[in-house]
């Protein structure tokens, strides 16, 4: 009787261990299956549409006070740029830098840093939420993207803005990001050139970093060199609209 019970118990334990291992192995296999990943990705569509339903253009990300500024703001992703042209510009305080805006625009434009600084600007103290889970509060000043886009004139077929960056991550491909026109024309979406009252440092994306405050940190492209208006990003790099998106992360990073 007692040996029966022991064998039954060890049978149950072995069964549970086997079941657990099968479950774990199965989940890993599903994680790697492209068709199953497609199914899981449907949640992003739902999240984006439900968030867009409850977010108005006036819904602002929380703005904090100077007292809330983080003592240490981690510089994540690339913290420098290997490109010698970029390094030469950095030595001159980016006085030779020019941001180009092209693609599906009426008047393709090139703007020097001092010209950008003269455009309508906005200063905001906001919380930066990294996809890894940490948050830091910083003060950002930059040109509002909306008025700038109005002055260059978007063509009717333009649906997204692609931000081409100077940095390479993992030594392979250049960083890039994209947002749609809803976020592009949001008042808190700025091309930041100052952080915490000083010109943006190289680790934080000098000379220009995008701030798109209602989304996670990887959308806030650093080292922005060129803004391209497009009707679709399917033909750019991996086709998913950004460096991290091409590596499995959500294009809509409001969550």
């Amino acid at each position: 009787m007692s040996s029966d019970r022991i064998s039954r118990r060890s049978f149950l334990a072995r069964g549970a261990a086997l079941g657990g291992a099968t479950f774990l192995g199965g989940c890993d296999q599903l994680s790697r299956s492209p068709s199953f990943r497609e199914v899981l990705s449907k949640a992003e569509w739902l999240t984006k549409n439900v968030q867009r339903l409850v977010l108005t253009e006036r819904s602002l990300a929380r703005e904090y006070s100077e007292a809330d500024l983080s003592t240490h703001f981690k510089a994540n992703g690339s913290t420098s740029v290997a490109d010698p042209i970029y390094q030469a510009m950095a030595k001159n305080g980016f006085s030779d830098f020019a941001l180009s805006i092209d693609g599906l625009v009426e008047r393709p434009t090139s703007l020097k840093l001092e010209e950008l600084r003269r455009l309508p600007s906005r200063t905001q103290i906001t919380r930066h939420d990294c996809v890894e889970g940490w948050s830091a509060i910083g003060k950002w000043t930059g040109a509002q993207l909306g008025p700038l886009l109005q002055s260059v004139g978007l063509k009717p077929e333009a649906r997204y803005l692609v931000f081409h960056c100077a940095d390479k991550l993992g030594a392979f491909s250049k960083y890039y990001e994209s947002i749609d026109l809803i976020d592009a024309f949001h008042p808190q979406t700025i091309l930041a050139y100052d952080m915490n009252g000083a010109p943006l440092s190289v680790p934080h994306g000098a000379p220009i970093r995008l701030r798109v405050e209602r989304q996670l940190g990887y959308k806030h492209a650093k080292y922005v060199q060129r803004i391209e208006a497009v009707s679709s990003f399917a033909m750019i790099e991996g086709g998913r609209g950004g460096f991290w998106e091409d590596r499995g992360y959500e294009w809509y990073a409001g969550i």
Binding site: G20, L24, C27, D28, S31, R37, V39, L40, S41, K42, A43, E44, L46, T47, Q51, V54, L55, S59, L60, A61, R62, Y64, D68, S70, T71, H72, R127, D129, C130, V131, E132, G133, W134, S135, A136, I137, E213, R214, Q215, L216, W244, R247, G248, Y249, E250, G254, I255
Partner: protein, 280 residues
């Protein structure tokens, strides 16, 4: 009057409605996937804080790899100012290839098992939506059908005898006969706490971590004392739900695994007669 000791009758009663059974199993699957994918997400930054931001001074829990004086590494879990050596389980554990690697929770607790934040998020958000839809279906059914009022709400009498029920549980004496046809008072309170306490809390703190939701509903940040506080409370809720799950499974086994599991699959639950009452 003829007194006959009738043979005790086992009675099969219909205990769980179809809707309760379906939502129970969908819920179980969702919570398992959410827990394991949540630990994958946690591992991307295995430190918890109180407040809006990740100020190291306001860390309340952390799982780190710490190099020792002799050059070796240890997994150290810090809670407040207390540090524990958790090598092999938390902070530092065996990875896929059998070598020790720095990670918050070990690979057999995360989904996927290997380090992949992007995929962990995909799992987490898909099953979070499923949990919400399943939960709404359950609530709608439960209120309309009277399940909450009839089966879950404790009566005044039951609340009065809560001490007795507690001692019966502690001695592993489970109700029999008519008493077993209903949830007992501790069961009712545990289910109510999970359904109307922990699950709404884990949902709201999850929303608070979303920068999009914070812009739409700024009061979320005030409700929980900042985004990092919400992340910590979300983690504590997951921990509490895991504790509930362990007690729940223990109770299932202690009070008759086969009978309980059958009742949650087919709806039929066998009632054991109470001794000595079948005297006519």
């Amino acid at each position: 009057m003829a007194v006959t000791a009738a043979p005790p009758q086992r009675e099969l009663v219909y205990r769980h409605a179809l809707m309760v059974r379906i939502t129970h199993w969908v819920n179980a699957l969702c919570l398992l996937v959410l827990l394991m994918s949540g630990l994958q997400i946690f591992n991307a930054h295995p430190t918890l804080y109180f407040g809006s931001t990740s100020e190291p001074a306001r860390a309340v829990l952390s799982m780190d790899v710490v190099q020792q004086d002799d050059g070796s590494y240890k997994g150290i879990t810090s809670i407040g100012s207390h540090a524990f050596d958790t090598t092999g389980l938390l902070g530092l554990s065996k990875g896929y290839d059998g070598k020790l690697e720095g990670r918050g929770f070990p690979q057999w607790l995360t989904l996927p098992s290997y380090r992949d934040l992007a995929t962990g998020r995909r799992w987490h958000f898909f099953f979070a939506w499923l949990l919400v839809i399943n939960g709404l279906a359950y609530l709608l059914y439960s209120f309309l059908s009277g399940h909450v009022r009839r089966d879950l709400a404790p009566t005044r009498g039951e609340i009065g005898h809560i001490g007795t029920s507690f001692w019966d549980h502690a001695r592993l004496r489970f109700p029999k006969g008519d008493e077993a046809k209903r949830y007992n008072v501790l069961q009712k309170l545990a289910y109510l706490a999970v359904i109307f306490g922990l699950l709404p809390l884990v949902f709201l703190t999850g929303l608070t971590m979303s920068p999009g939701m914070d812009a739409a509903f700024p009061f979320l940040l005030d409700m929980f004392g900042g985004r990092q506080s919400a992340r910590t409370i979300h983690f504590l809720c997951a921990f509490a739900l895991t504790l509930f799950f362990l007690v729940h499974i223990a109770m299932v086994f202690l009070s008759g695994a086969f009978n309980n599991i059958r009742s949650m699959i087919t709806g039929r639950y066998a009632i054991e007669p109470t001794e000595g009452t079948h005297v006519q």
